[in-house]
Every structure is written in C-alpha cells, then in structure tokens.
C-alpha cells in the first residue's frame, strides 16, 4: 500500500459522497469517499491525513502526456525497477515520499522507463483511501 502524508485542502460534499482534496508536497491529490464530514471526525480542513492507494492502481505515463481525465498526478523520478516475467515493480521518488507502481513489463518497455527517468504517476480519484 502506498502511503503519502498530507493536509486536507478542501472538502466538497454531495449527498453520501465527499470529494476530499489533500495537499501533499508539490501536488494536490483528490479522493472521493462514501462518507460525510460529520461521520468521520478527522475529516476537517487542515487536518493531517494519509492518502492510501494500492501499488497496482498507479498508472505510469510520460511527463508531457495531456488530455487525460486522471486528476491525481505525481511527477516522480524512477529509483529502480524490478522486472518480473509479466509484471514490473517500479520504485518511484516524489517530494512527498516514495511510492511503488506495479504495471505490466510490456508497458515499461514500451515507455522505455529506466532508473533515473522522469515519469508521471497517475491514480484514479476513486482508488484513493484516507486514513488518520
């Protein structure tokens, strides 16, 4: 599980859903959760929270990629890669912390990702969880 620390930047609520924006270093991540602020006591503007997401939910793209719906973008530097037969585990460094992406080996080869490359990590808004 990837885990980044940040502070709640804003909360928008509609019916059962809340869109929570969390400010991490050099980026703002948004997550959508099935909770209203009054149900989760740490859901307050400015509170320190962790944003959690699974390694397998991190999409990798080239930094200059445009025209995509994914809101959560973290410009990272590749630390190293562990290539398996089918999958590849990519260790990434972002100013707010380290994270891991698990993508297919083929994708890594097509994008020519190597240690030291700059890469954009994308995470879907609904794949992110919050924790105190």
């Amino acid at each position: 599980m990837n885990r980044l620390k940040g502070n709640i930047h804003s909360i928008e609520t509609k019916d059962q859903l809340s869109l929570v924006k969390v400010e991490v270093k050099e980026s703002i991540l948004s997550t959508i959760i099935v909770n209203r602020p009054e149900e989760l006591d740490y859901l307050r503007k400015g509170n320190e929270v962790y944003v959690l997401f699974k390694e397998t939910e991190v999409v990798l793209g080239l930094p200059e990629l445009t025209g995509i719906s994914l809101q959560n973008r973290l410009l990272c530097k590749v630390i190293d890669l562990e290539k398996g037969a089918l999958l590849c585990r990519v260790n990434l460094n972002h100013p707010s912390g380290q994270l891991v992406s698990i993508v297919t080996r083929r994708a890594v080869e097509e994008l020519d990702i190597q240690a030291g490359s700059q890469i954009m990590a994308f995470i879907k808004t609904n794949e992110m969880m919050l924790s105190e």
């Binding site: 599980m1 699974k54 590849c88």
Partner: protein, 297 residues
C-alpha cells in the same frame, strides 16, 4: 465452575484527575476476555478489585455460585480467600526459591500431595519448564520467569485467571511464544480468563471477547472482529479473515485469506509481506467503488 459476574464502582485519583470507574460485565465460564483501552482508563484497577487487592466502593463479584464481594450483603472476601490465579506484569516470583519451591509454595495446604505432584509435572511439561526445576527464580530470563508465574498461578486450579499485561515487558518474539503457551493452558484447563492488554494483535490472537475501557467505562464490547473493524480507515468494504498461505508470484505475492467459509486471494506488494504470516488475523479493506455486484438467483 460458572459464569463470573462483575459490577464495580469506585472513584480513583489518577494522573489526570479523578477517574470514576463504573463497570458491569459477565465472563462466561471458560471464556477468554481481554480488557483493552488507553492507559489510565482503569483496566488494572478492575483486575485488582476482582483479585481483592483493591477495595471497590460498591458493587458485586460472583464467581459461579460463590460470592467474593457484595456491598449490599456486606460480603468482602480477602484476596487470600479468593481462589484465583493472578499474573503480574513483572512476574513477582519468590526470588530466593527455586522454580519447584515456587510452585509447591503456591499449592494450597488442602491439595492432595500425590495429585499435586502430578499436576505440577503436567503443567511444567506443558510450559517447557521441567529442565529449569531446580534453578533459582532470580536466575531466569524474563520469558522464563513469566512462564513460571503462569504455571504458579494455575497450580491451585482456580476457576478464574487474571492477567495484568503479562507480556508487556517482553520482546515481540517472546510475546508471541507466550501467547501460544497461554492459549495451550487455556485450551487444556478451560479457565475463565480476564487479561489486561494494550496490544491489538495480542487481543485478536487470544480473546473471544474484547472489552474496551475508556475513562472508567466500557465503551465497546464484542468479538475482536466487531471491536477492531471500527477502524478509522475510510474504506467501506471490510472483512476480517485469517491468512492461510502466502505465495510469491512474479514480482508480487498472492495471499490466500479465509473469510468466513470462503477463501479469497489478494495481491500484496513485498513491502507489506514481512508483517504477514499464516495464521494472522487480518482485515480486508477496499473502497466502495471497486466491488462488482452480480445477482445470484
């Protein structure tokens, strides 16, 4: 043996001012209950009141048919008169005695000598203490001392075993071992057990019921699953299960988990795999967005 019924009230002056302790609970015969909660909540005081080491203001303590304390009837048995096992965090062995002498001293005068020797050897064997029999208590390691303390506590066949954070002073590895010893004893002798513990993993591994105490009141009570599922994680899709196996697959791991009667498989990254081993109780969490629903009929 029978159910243990406890109702206690007492005002205690603690580090953070006055604490009004007010609890009522039943321990079914043969059950294993863990009393958890933050320090200063009154956990140890409850245990000490049941043991007769601290006098409540009012309430009652019944162990089966036997009354240990009833403020209405004016009954208060001294600690010496309560047939109980008590294990302290700091072992409290009698240091100048050998292990054998500690156990023999603990036996009550009315116990049949031959049967007592049989029981002592049975317990010593279960606890792997036979080889330490003639060692002085003060020469043993922490884990060994606590094993002796456990053995000493049950020599008299008490209907109720009380443990006050017994493994808190031990390192994690030793703690896990001690939990196994305790479970073994509990299965063998079916003692009604009440244990104070801070450790969530310990609680999940040992208890069939957990009572969470806060500021002198029981604020949450139930099975470990029920109590700990109220976690502060925002994920909506939650189950508890037991890890059956872990298999490395390519660069990731496949963890098989038994949830209820079904086995599920989850992909886990190697960063988290160190903390998992087969037999662990775990919680499965996912977001409400992920599951797909398919009607069965």
């Amino acid at each position: 043996m029978g159910e243990v019924r406890v109702r206690l009230k007492k005002s205690l002056s603690g580090a953070s001012g006055l604490l009004k302790l007010d609890v009522a609970f039943n321990l079914p015969a043969g059950s294993f209950t863990i009393l958890g909660g933050p320090s200063g909540a009154g956990k140890t005081s409850i245990l000490r009141m049941i043991a007769g080491l601290l006098k409540p203001e009012n309430g009652e303590i019944y162990v089966g048919e036997q009354c240990w304390y009833d403020s209405k009837k004016g009954i208060y048995l001294k600690a010496q008169k309560r047939l109980q096992g008590f294990v302290f965090q700091d072992y409290a062995l009698f240091p100048q005695m050998t292990i054998a002498q500690n156990l023999e001293f603990a036996a009550s005068a009315s116990q049949n000598r031959a049967k007592l020797q049989e029981r002592i050897s049975q317990i010593l064997e279960m606890m792997d203490l036979t080889s330490l029999l003639n060692r002085k208590a003060s020469s043993l390691s922490g884990g060994q001392q606590q094993r002796v303390a456990l053995a000493r506590a049950i020599i008299r066949k008490p209907p109720l075993l009380l443990l006050d954070e017994p493994f808190a002073a031990l390192d994690p590895e030793m703690r896990k071992k001690m939990q196994e010893y305790l479970l073994k004893l509990h299965r063998e002798f079916k003692l009604t057990t009440l244990m104070v513990s801070h450790d969530q993993g310990e609680s999940i591994n040992l208890a069939d019921t957990i009572m969470m105490l806060s500021e002198g009141k029981i604020v949450n009570q139930g099975s470990p699953e029920e109590v700990f599922a109220h976690s502060n994680l925002s994920g909506k899709f939650r189950f508890t299960g037991e890890v059956l196996s872990i298999q490395a697959s390519d660069v990731v791991f496949v963890v098989s988990i038994l949830v209820g009667k079904n086995m599920v498989k989850v992909i886990v990254d190697k960063n988290e795999i160190d903390q998992l081993s087969p037999g662990d109780h775990v919680m499965l969490v996912s977001k409400a967005f992920n599951p797909i629903i398919k009607k069965i009929s």
